[in-house]
Amino acid sequence: MALLEVENLRTYFYTRGGVVRAVDNVSFTLEQGETMGIVGESGSGKSVTCYSLLGLIPRPPGKIVSGSALFGGVDLLNCSKEQLRRIQGKRISMIFQDPMTSLNPYMRVSDQLVEPLLVHDRMSRSQALTKAIASLEEVGIQDAANRINLYPHQFSGGMRQRVMIAMALISRPEILIADEPTTALDVTVQAQILELIRQRQKDLGTAVIFITHDLGVVASFCNRVNVMYAGRIVESAPTDEIFARPMHPYNASLQQSIPALHKKGQALFTIPGLPPDLTIEFRGCPFASRCAHAGEICKEQDPALKQIVPGHKTSCIRFQRGEIADVRIKNFVSAV
């Protein structure tokens, strides 16, 4: 049985400019102990998907229009506030991108760390404090017994992120959602934090949903990858497959535009056009206007995720019909 089953999630934002379809029919499953990556650019809906699961969408203007998210028999999207509260922070935790604003600057780190323990596990304060110090040591903070009494601003960015991870893992959750946890960090610190998350995950057996825009991070970190575009999942596969045998032109285009994979002087592929306007209701595939492989059918038929080989799904209509063998773009004239 899967740990988390999300089906047909639709989260829309009702704004003055129109209805923003941030998440438009997203379904995925998460197994025990697995690391799943959600990759996309800004506006792809990757963060909103996970915020929806934990009831963090402001309503108004947001609204979860449809969908279910089954976790241990409870539908996270349709349960009582009390039920959700008992799951948040205890069985599903989240770490965020900006360590500066995710910690309360007016509370000592000790207070912030013991809070989930006092609330969820009903421990005494001294028990909770011991556990908190242990958790700081687990994330590699030296001299934890003394530093736990400091305020967040007295830690550096990398340290704050470690504190966040300690806070998220202190009640031994079954799922950890990490929303771009290393984007704001230096590259060497990022490597440390990723290594830390990987280590803790191994020790605790926690499943991780890792949200990022960086394909490189996903390659080293995740078992499975979901690529999102315009609020939908366009491709879903194990990590090796996503890179070795891409089945969606967006995925292939992204990989071909990364400088890291190119030699100097080799022109980078550029995806023409602009990210989609989410207030427009798409007819057909939302990527069609920018896709080198787009055909007539792409503009008419609504794409749906279909499994091609076991474990590997794509929503590219033409690939599903066998009209394209290789989604990679060859012989492109690089546009500037």
Binding site: G17, G273, L274, A335, V336
Partner: protein, 362 residues
């Protein structure tokens, strides 16, 4: 929205082919139009200003024209004329309000008085001795003050004064404040410290004392009034502008302007101040009501405009003294004053939301 394509068209550019952009001002105006409260404020204020400017020419009275016999008549009270025939020349005409008509016949017993008043009120012409009493067509929409001056005209003319003082003083404070604050903020360092410490010292001096001193030195002068108020209000404006300029100075587009080698005055006037104007407008809109209140306070102290000229402040002061007997003398100017203050405040709030850079689409 433009798509990024590299096209090579060597055809010359014609100015009329260019797509006009929507400046941030137009953006702000659209946002303001959607804010109904702010629009209400704007239209109400414009209406009041227009009334004050135009209607006094049409009321048929001037603000100083007294008619003692009409003392403190209520709004729209019926008015009667008394023509006193004289041996030589035109009969002397005066006007009396219904409420005072009884007092004309004090020598008669009460029952008689009531009968006579009823007769005159019904439209008959009544003659007693040399005096002829009859209905008059005159109306005072807001009534009259103790000296028989038409209150409507006085309120509207007073409005002219109050609004003029409000805007003129604000203009003075904006001019001084913006130059001072922008220079201090842009120069930074010692110049900034000296300029702002000077402003701090001025800020600590009590406003009323300064105005009294100025009045004593230069006499009670209408122009002096708003120079004095403006000279006090500029301090806040300077502080606000300085703060804005300092935070703008560190923005990258200012660094870019410096890297282009542009001279300082151009950076200040072309790049910094236009981006600060939003705050200036908002603050100025909110300063006008403050200034008008200050002027009213001065009038309470007797330092305001000279009679017979009056402002809303003076009228409210006078009205508050006869509150028990003729409440309209207080209520009418107070309504106008309050409406104006509310309108400007609503407008100022609306402008703040409309010009807020965070709410512009990004």
């Amino acid at each position: 929205m433009a798509t990024a394509t590299a096209s090579i068209e060597p055809t010359p550019i014609r100015a009329d082919e260019l797509v006009q952009g929507t400046s941030l001002w137009k953006d702000a105006w659209f946002r303001l139009k959607k804010n109904h409260v702010a629009l209400f404020g704007l239209y109400t204020f414009c209406t009041i200003a227009l009334l004050c400017l135009v209607v006094p020419f049409f009321t048929g009275y001037t603000y100083e024209q007294t008619e003692i016999s009409l003392k403190a008549s209520a709004p729209l009270e019926p008015i009667f004329s008394r023509s006193e025939a004289r041996k030589v020349g035109e009969p002397k005409k005066s006007f009396i309000a219904l409420s005072n008509l009884e007092d004309e016949f004090l020598e008669r017993p009460q029952s008689d008085r009531k009968a006579i008043v009823a007769k005159i009120a019904s439209g008959e012409v009544y003659q007693e001795g040399r005096d002829t009493y009859q209905r008059s067509n005159q109306r005072h929409v807001f009534g009259t003050d103790p000296l028989g001056r038409d209150l409507l005209t006085r309120v509207l003319v007073g409005g002219r004064i109050s609004l003029a003082v409000g805007f003129a003083a604000t203009l003075v404070s904006v001019c001084i404040g913006v130059l001072w604050g922008a220079t201090a903020g842009f120069a930074g360092g010692k110049v900034d410290t000296v300029m702002m410490r000077f402003a701090d010292i001025l800020y600590a001096l009590p406003f009323t004392v300064i105005v009294i001193l100025l009045m004593v030195m230069f006499g009670r002068n209408f122009i002096l009034l708003f120079v004095a108020i403006g000279a006090v209000e500029w301090l806040n404006m300077a502080r606000i502008v300085r703060g804005q300029i300092i935070s703008l100075k560190n923005q990258e587009f200012i660094e870019a302007a410096i890297s282009l080698g542009l001279p300082s005055h151009r950076i200040l006037f072309r790049h910094l101040i236009p981006n600060v104007i939003g705050s200036i407008i908002i603050y100025a809109t909110l300063t006008v009501p403050n200034v008008m209140l200050l002027e009213a306070v001065l009038s309470f102290l007797g330092l305001g405009v000279q009679p017979p000229l009056s402002s809303w402040g003076v009228l409210i002061d006078e009205g508050s003294r006869t509150m028990e007997t003729s409440i309209w003398l207080l209520v009418c100017p107070a309504i106008f004053f309050s409406l104006t203050l509310f309108s400007l405040n609503f407008l100022g709030d609306g402008l703040r939301d409309a010009l807020d850079p965070k709410s512009s689409k990004d």
